[in-house]
């Protein structure tokens, strides 16, 4: 659990309305959320609840139609190097090697060449890819590709890591390993994480707080603090307290799913 109380990300009355075929569709109604420094926050919800949209807005990749985001007190007006992004689709630069991908992220940095090389080496090691520096992404497995993406998103030392269902495309075993790896990297390189997922186990296992978003339009339905000890390992999912959290979140999501199904039937 995070002990620092400084607000890192302030999500203040954020709403997003898309124009779909000329008619407005509200993706997010109004989200108010304060995320503290170095906190690990998971966001769950039914598909289409606007969780990825919210993440994109925090990333500055999308503009809110109402409200605003502040990072360290400064209003977000676009993407920036204080945030790193990891996408489900890996989104690596496939014409570059593992090393090239990570080095590319440092190109806008003012560090010296030697420092950059050292950072690249450090993060390749941190995500367990030593020996694969010169491999091309298409030669790697899904889990390894996502490790490259994590290293690329962290190497320039952003203070916030935004992850949009990063392990959604991986098989269950790889996913478990990646979760443990992510926690280790997060503990070693203090960073605030916003982690969007639809996997409730994953959300609880990783986070200090789980935010359940209500669907159509999206708003915060529940803000649950996860009081499970760290460091965490895979056995945690059998902990009775884990199950209590899981039941509570699943009940919320089920409610939302039923609501959406009823809406669709109309």
């Amino acid at each position: 659990m995070s002990t620092e109380l400084k607000t890192k990300v302030a999500i203040d009355g954020v709403g997003k309305v898309f124009q779909v075929d000329g008619s407005p569709v509200t993706a997010i109604e109004r989200v108010d959320l304060d995320i503290r420094e170095n906190e690990f926050v998971s966001i769950v919800g039914t598909s289409g609840c606007g969780k990825s949209t919210l993440l994109n807005i925090v990333g500055g990749l999308d503009e809110p139609t109402s409200g605003e985001i502040r990072i360290d007190g400064a209003r977000v007006t676009g993407p920036g190097r204080n945030r790193g992004f990891v996408f489900q689709s890996y989104s690596l630069f496939e014409w570059m090697t593992v090393k090239g991908n990570i080095r590319f992220a440092l190109e806008k940095s003012t560090l010296g060449k030697a420092e950059k090389e050292e950072l690249v080496r450090h993060f390749i090691q941190a995500v367990g890819l030593s020996g694969f520096e010169n491999a091309y992404p298409q030669q790697l497995s899904g889990g390894m590709r996502q490790r490259v993406a994590i290293a690329r998103a962290l190497v320039y030392k952003p203070s916030i890591l935004l992850m949009d269902e990063p392990f959604g495309a991986l098989d269950a075993q790889t996913r478990g390993m990646m979760q443990e790896l992510l926690l280790k990297v997060w503990e070693d390189h203090k960073v605030t994480v916003l982690f969007v997922t639809h996997d409730v186990d994953e959300a609880i296992f990783l986070a200090d707080r789980v935010i359940v978003l209500a669907s159509r339009p999206g708003k915060v339905k529940k803000d649950l603090t996860i009081k499970l000890p760290r460091p965490r390992s895979f056995e945690l999912v059998t902990d009775p307290q884990f199950t209590v959290y899981k039941r509570e979140i699943l009940t919320d999501i089920r409610e939302e799913t039923l609501k959406v199904m009823a809406l669709d039937r109309k």
Partner: protein
Amino acid sequence: MSQNPRQGIGRLFRLRQEIPASIFSAAGFVVPVALLFLWWLITSLGLVKPLFLPSPGAVLEEGWRQLSEGILVSDASVSIYRILIGWLAATIVAVPVGILMGNFRIIEGALEPLISTVRYMPVVALIPLSILWAGIGDMQKVLILFLGTFFQQSLMIMDNVKNIDRNLIRAGQTLGFSNFEILYRIILPAALPGIWDTFRITIGWTWTYLVVAELVAASEGLGRRIMDAQRYLATDTILFGTLFIGLMGLLTDYLFKKSGRALFRWNNQSR
């Protein structure tokens, strides 16, 4: 057909299943060879008059005659020159236009309807205008090849660019790159294997427009030779010329495939 689909010929007809590589490539030879045999059989049995269908031997002889008299080499070099200039001119314009259309909605909105309309206009019908504008020299041939290639090509390049993962652009934005840097350091390399494939396909189309380009006011060229042969009902010349153009198209296709593989080693799909 065998009872057990795992054995015999049934093994080759399972939905979407791999077959031995040797059988796969052999099949590609068997069909043309069979057609060739059929052609030979028909002509040697005298089922069709040579005026309508000359024998394979006659066509080969015609090829040998053109080669030994130097006609073939001079025709081919003139035509290859026109193809290269026409296709390069189209490509030099189509690449930036396609890239801009694929990335900026405003440019797509401004150009796409126009290009989509023009590409359905028959190029043959533009011959009179092309003569009026470009005279009767090489420029006119190049112009026809340009018109036959450019419009399709720019739309295909637009699609190549649109097909890249949008998150690559987002990653670039997050990393602090400017729009221009994202354009040429991320979007362009990501789309390049697709664009290369478009090059391969469109230069094939340029070849197919050759005869149209050399339809009028040409004294040399592979296409011209065919049109001249029409006057003398020299079917063997027509057939040889057509087959030779096909062969040249196949060769360029192969060269683009090979070079694509060498250029984009990182890409599994082009391997």
